[in-house]
């Protein structure tokens, strides 16, 4: 019997036991999720005792399929994406045993929502220039500063946070990584309205927020290294397996099919070109996932993200042209705070505007092109004058 078959048999057995002990139809959702975690079936590539079984990552899809078929609840991964995609792998890699025990289970079950406090108004692409300060005070740190682009901040119990603990050393060296309790009275969350009219993100103002040293992730001054691990996870998360005509291309192709009266040869030429590009991007993502399954993630994820952003933007722009009269209409400009993002949801105008963010959020396309050029093609890095200067002496 192959390893593959043996793993599957073993997982089937474990799922059966879980389902037998906690019949989805009659078990409380949270109880089920906790049991799933404790059975190591939450994320099988995590270690035993932390929701996993130490298996390869791709086995999880099989477990999920079995559970879904049995009508089991899921942990609403889109609601807790930051916890799952960014906080959890970082805590696992850099956290202490105590931190693993405290944070991972309620993170995975969704009992505790997480957000990310990295970006600042003055530190976007140049994240390491961030100015939020953390001063030591006994067994605690006292944190003051301003963060932006924080999704779920108003729903979150915890945040992963990078702050400056030493301004006298060069900027990358003076950072430390923390878990921040969002219920601290020094945390103020304000909605940050976007060009779509809604506030999907927040600004977070930190005023003398107190963080116990036991909530520090990694060593003092190692914050840049830890943060980079988080961000790499972010980029890898992009471009998950989608079917043909998944995403924006499906929406626009359907608009084409549904509006024969608005077709022009010029739009058809552009649509077909973009259909090809979207399909090739899908294949490229598929190939990248096959590569990841047998090796470590490389900077190729950056390339995928550039492509997806461009295609989504061109498609959503084309959709408005296709709609003509109706392209001039917009659903609603009222300020709202959505719980999750729907890139292809709402109306065409919303899609067009929201897609503009795709090439900015999670690394601008410009930065990602630098990454591809430097890390994949080995071209020289941009000239830097800020690497060896103490942060406090940098021009701003």
């Amino acid at each position: 019997m192959s390893d593959e078959t043996q793993h599957r048999r073993d997982l089937e057995r474990r799922v059966s036991v879980l389902l037998a002990d906690h019949p989805p139809g009659s078990t409380d959702r949270l109880d089920f999720l906790r049991a799933q975690f404790d059975a190591g079936l939450a994320w099988v590539h995590f270690p035993q005792g932390l929701g996993g079984l130490g298996l390869a990552r791709e086995h999880q899809a099989y477990v999920d399929a079995l559970l879904q078929a049995a009508g089991a609840p899921d942990n609403d991964p889109w609601r807790i994406g930051i916890g799952l995609g960014m906080a959890a792998p970082t805590i696992l890699a850099f956290g202490t045993e105590e931190q693993h025990q405290r944070f991972l289970r309620p993170l995975w079950t969704g009992e505790e929502v997480w957000c990310q406090l990295f970006s600042e108004p003055g530190a976007g692409s140049d994240l390491a220039a961030l100015a939020t300060r953390a001063f030591p005070d006994g067994d605690e740190w006292v944190v003051t500063g301003q963060k932006v682009w924080t999704s779920s901040a108003h729903l979150a119990r915890f945040a992963i946070l990078v702050a400056r603990t030493d301004p006298t050393v060069p900027k990358h060296a003076g950072l430390t990584y923390f878990v921040c309790d969002m219920s601290d009275p020094g945390v103020e969350v304000r909605p940050l309205r976007q060009i779509t009219g809604e506030a999907e993100f927040n600004e977070v103002f930190l005023s003398d927020v107190r963080i116990p040293d036991s909530y520090r992730i990694g060593a003092v001054g190692q914050g840049w290294k830890v943060a980079n691990a988080t961000l790499n996870n972010e980029r890898v998360a992009i471009g998950g397996g989608a079917p043909r005509e998944g995403g924006m291309i499906g929406v626009v192709a359907d608009a084409w099919r549904n509006h024969p009266e608005r077709r022009t040869p010029e739009l058809h030429a552009r649509l077909m070109s973009l259909w090809v590009e979207a399909e090739v991007a899908r294949m490229t993502g598929q190939r990248l996932r096959q590569k990841l399954a047998v090796g470590a993630p490389g900077p190729e994820g950056a390339a995928m993200k550039v492509t997806f952003a461009r295609i989504a933007q061109e498609l959503s722009g084309l959709e408005l042209e296709l709609l003509g009269e109706d392209g001039l209409r917009f659903q609603d400009w009222t300020m709202t705070r959505p719980e999750r993002v729907q890139f292809t949801g709402r109306d065409a105008g919303y899609r067009y505007l929201r897609a503009k963010g795709n090439s900015i959020e999670g690394g601008t396309s410009e930065i990602l092109r630098n990454i591809v050029a430097e890390r994949v093609l080995g071209l020289p890095a941009e000239a830097r004058t800020d690497k060896d200067v103490p942060w406090k002496d940098l021009e701003r």
């Binding site: 692409s125 060009i195 042209e321 505007l353």
Partner: protein, 385 residues
């Protein structure tokens, strides 16, 4: 290497030649630009414009009065003897570029360009004079997306009055008087209808571009009076839409040039990784390319305006070329403006989105790029497959 591309190294064709038009501003045009720009700088600030998206349009009426009445732009295209300023399409282009630069929420294009052009053949001198003075704001009842080539009258005359529905009309919300193309047996008549007359519904549309909010207009047995007869109505409307499209290009140039300027200014001060962003060569080259596009759009828009001003035989080609080109440049400039402002460009507080929304809505106005290219192909003898 010294040889250079020789554009004179050409072949001869039977194609209608381009006209030799002046593509630079005259001194009078520059003076007009300066006065409009000065007024807009003090009155039409981004925060006031932005407020319109949240329902506060207190900017709109006073700004329009200042432009239309105080500066006399309501009747810019109306001859002096008919009560107007006797300006040319080139002057209107200058105004539109300035309005585009600040995304001004005023019905200059719908009233002073489109409605005025449509009404010019009318014998109703009183109405023309009211339009010209700004006493009455007028809108031609056509969808903003209609073009000279695609226009067909949706309103018909019945015994009880005129009836029909016209979607996404620009300027209808601001208008006191609607100029309605009415389909009759022997052509199209233009009827005048009070905007608050019985049977008229002007339903505001939540618009992608709230600074040029459109409305769906419905007429049900509305009493009206004919102001342009069936012999001249259809050509009056088409002419108005053609001139509208010609001059929209200048608004698009205004949007584009302002986006480029603001982006350049922002990148010159924003630092990342210890250097101002404007010094990064990849951004420099993108801005250089954008500059080339904007200057090219400027030439195309000025050619179209000059052709409209002299009723040049090349006007139809000039309009399709200008629209096919300038629409895309304005969108591109606004998109680059958002992108190169980074996160800031995605925020509601920064005005970049005002330009993006105007540019994208303008792209749909007066016909799609496919329509423009298709008509151009016909005009220059390049038949489709």
């Amino acid at each position: 290497m010294t040889a250079v591309p020789n554009v004179a190294d050409n072949v001869t064709t039977g194609l209608a030649p381009a006209s030799d038009l002046v593509l630079l501003s005259t001194e009078d045009e520059q003076a007009l630009r300066d006065s409009v720009r000065a007024l807009l700088a003090s009155r039409c600030t981004p925060d006031r414009v932005m407020a319109i998206f949240d329902g506060d349009d207190s900017l709109r009426q006073p700004l329009w009065t200042a432009l239309a009445v105080d500066l006399g732009l309501a009747g810019l295209l109306v001859p002096e003897e008919a009560g107007g300023a006797g300006g040319s399409a080139r002057d209107a282009a200058v105004v539109l570029t300035e309005l585009g630069r600040v995304v001004a929420p005023v019905p200059f294009l719908s009233h002073s360009v489109v409605a005025a052009t449509a009404l010019l053949p009318s014998g109703d001198r009183e109405l023309v004079a009211e339009l010209a003075s700004g006493a009455v704001t007028v809108a031609l009842l056509t969808p903003l997306t209609a073009s000279a080539g695609s226009f067909s009258a949706a309103v018909v005359g019945e015994d009880i009055g005129i009836s029909g529905r016209v979607p996404v009309v620009a300027g209808a919300l601001e208008a006191q008087l609607l100029l309605v193309p009415v389909r009759v047996a022997d052509g199209v008549e233009l009827h005048a209808v009070e905007a608050d007359a019985l049977g008229v519904t002007v339903a505001p549309v939540v618009s992608l571009d709230m600074t040029r909010q459109v409305a769906d207009v419905a007429l049900t047995g509305v009493a009206s009076r004919v102001v342009v007869g069936a012999d001249a109505g259809d050509s009056a409307v088409r002419r108005a839409l053609l001139v509208g499209a010609a001059l929209l290009a200048s608004e698009q140039v205004g949007v584009a040039e302002r986006c480029l300027e603001d982006t350049v200014a922002y990148l010159k001060q924003r630092r990342q990784f210890g250097r101002v962003l404007a010094g990064y060569q990849a951004l420099k080259h993108r801005l250089a390319d954008l500059y080339i596009e904007v200057e090219s759009a400027r030439a195309a828009a000025q050619y179209a305006a000059a052709a409209a001003a002299t009723d040049d035989p090349d006007l139809p080609v000039a309009v399709e070329v200008a629209q096919a080109y300038c629409s895309a440049v304005a969108v591109h400039a606004a998109e680059e403006c958002v992108q190169l402002h980074g996160g800031l460009g995605m925020t509601w507080e920064h005005p970049a989105h005002l330009y993006l929304k105007r540019a994208k809505a303008d792209q749909l106005a007066f016909g799609s790029s496919g329509e423009h290219l298709a008509r151009l192909a016909e005009l220059v003898g390049l038949p489709p497959a």
